[in-house]
């Protein structure tokens, strides 16, 4: 996925090119959706993705391509997720979240499924800051500098959050069972 192609599509869409707008959505929607699945939850990701694009199109006039359009869009998605979580926190009755992640994935070996589910649960259990840094860099493939722009924090912060997320995952996935004290968080 080429950042330059995405940015070109965004700039053309800004000037009213509807086909370019469709291309911009096509090229980015999987990443936006994946980010939202992990920052919010599976059940609302589609709605939040739609809200992300509506916000993005609404402020596209002010987009000057100072950052790649993908980074700009993901930063909007992140704000949409944060707004959603804030709204949900204000809601007096919070319906129990249903984990769609428990559904089996098609076209994969059983071993992959089990690993995939364990990984997803472990990722979702990470503290929000670490989860965000991990999803941006590992699942969306952003560089640390891009992830820092999306998350609005210094690169060094992304770096350490990713490392801590990895440490948490190593611990959670039991990869260190043979050598527990090596990864134990307590001295």
């Amino acid at each position: 996925m080429d950042d330059a192609v995405i940015t070109d599509a965004a700039l053309a869409a800004r000037d009213g090119d509807r086909a370019a707008a469709a291309r911009f959505v096509e090229l980015t929607q999987q990443q936006v959706w994946r980010l939202l699945v992990h920052l919010a939850d599976h059940g609302v990701a589609a709605d939040l993705a739609q809200e992300t694009y509506e916000r993005a199109f609404g402020s596209l006039r002010r987009f000057r391509a100072e950052a790649p359009a993908r980074t700009w869009l993901l930063a909007i998605a992140r704000r949409v997720a944060a707004d959603h979580l804030r709204r949900r926190a204000r809601r007096p009755v919070d319906p129990a979240p249903i984990q769609d992640g428990d559904e089996p994935l098609t076209g994969t070996r059983p071993g992959d499924v089990a690993e995939g589910i364990a990984l997803r649960l472990a990722v979702d259990a990470l503290p929000p800051d670490r989860r965000e840094a991990f999803v941006l860099t590992q699942m969306l493939g952003l560089g640390y500098a891009e992830a820092a722009v999306v998350a609005g924090c210094p690169i060094g912060t992304v770096r350490s959050r990713v490392a801590r997320a990895r440490a948490d995952l190593v611990e959670a996935l039991g990869a260190g069972a043979e050598n527990p004290e090596a990864v134990s968080r307590e001295p």
Binding site: R14, R18, R34, G58, V123, L169, A182
Partner: protein, 272 residues
């Protein structure tokens, strides 16, 4: 934390009798810093300047060496995990995309011109009939009637000019203007037939018609509204003081919220 990590390393490995020396000497990393470097390395973001210190640390710290292997496994697992495909949103979000601007800009400029023309007409009618007077009609003489007409024409001219600038408000002008044009059109036709008005006078109403058409173009080709209310805010009315019949019933199950949202949002109606 880093001191803890360092002590842990010393406890596990026992390679140094002097923790202070380990922490202060050049090129030495504690476990936390080492693992951060190892993590960055997995992402191709390692700092080459710290590479020697990492190697030194790894040579003396089996725990970090082991962690590196585990972290690599987790990383590979993450990157090879099957990615579930999300929904295709193109049709849902495209109505919000910006619309072509050139035609719209032309329509706005033309609307300003029409507004100015309308103001000029209003001002002319004010001057032209200033000397008249005499016949009383409905409690006002002709001069006052024409003052009212002129005021209305001037107001419409101002509305066109302002609407060309603040295009968001233009849509609000359309119902009143449309009704005015329809009534005026019917009455003008009757008056023309009965010879109560010169065709020239009726022709000036074409300016209004043109202004209406342009206002319609500008408001219909406008960009989508900015940040829209959250989908949930529409689907589930806040527990506020507006339980009117117009609001959608609260979604009973959280899975069902997509349905009502899809019906509520005007943007999606366009897509359908």
């Amino acid at each position: 934390m880093s001191r803890d990590a360092d002590r842990r390393r010393l406890g596990v490995v026992g390679n140094s009798d002097d923790p202070a020396r380990d922490l202060t000497s050049m090129g030495t990393l504690d476990c936390a810093a080492c693992r951060e470097e190892l993590s960055a390395e997995l992402d191709g973001e390692a700092d080459p300047a710290r590479r020697p210190a990492v190697l030194t640390h790894l040579g003396a710290c089996p725990a970090c060496t082991h962690w590196r292997e585990q972290a690599a496994v987790v990383t590979r697992l993450t990157r090879t995990a099957p990615a579930e495909a999300g929904p295709d949103l193109v049709a849902r979000v495209l109505p919000a995309a910006p619309r072509p601007r050139r035609r719209r800009l032309a329509a706005r400029v033309a609307l300003v011109a029409v507004g100015v023309a309308q103001i000029v007409l209003g001002a002319l009618s004010l001057i032209g009939v200033a000397g008249h007077g005499g016949t009383m009609l409905g409690g006002a003489d002709m001069a006052h009637m024409s003052h009212e007409t002129a005021a209305w024409n001037l107001a419409l001219g101002a509305a066109f000019v302002a609407g060309a600038y603040w295009t968001r408000h233009l849509a609000g002008l359309l119902p009143a203007l449309g009704a005015f044009i329809v009534v005026l059109g019917v009455l003008s036709g009757l008056d023309l037939a009965a010879g109560r008005v010169e065709p020239d006078r009726v022709a000036t109403h074409a300016v209004l018609l043109l202004g209406f058409a342009l206002a319609l173009v500008v408001s219909r080709t406008g960009p989508a509204r900015g940040p829209s209310p959250a989908p949930r805010a529409l689907a589930e009315p806040e527990a506020g003081p507006e339980p009117g019949p117009a609001t959608a019933p609260p979604a009973p199950a959280s899975r069902d919220h997509l349905g009502p949202v899809a019906r509520d949002r005007p943007a999606r109606r366009e897509a359908a």
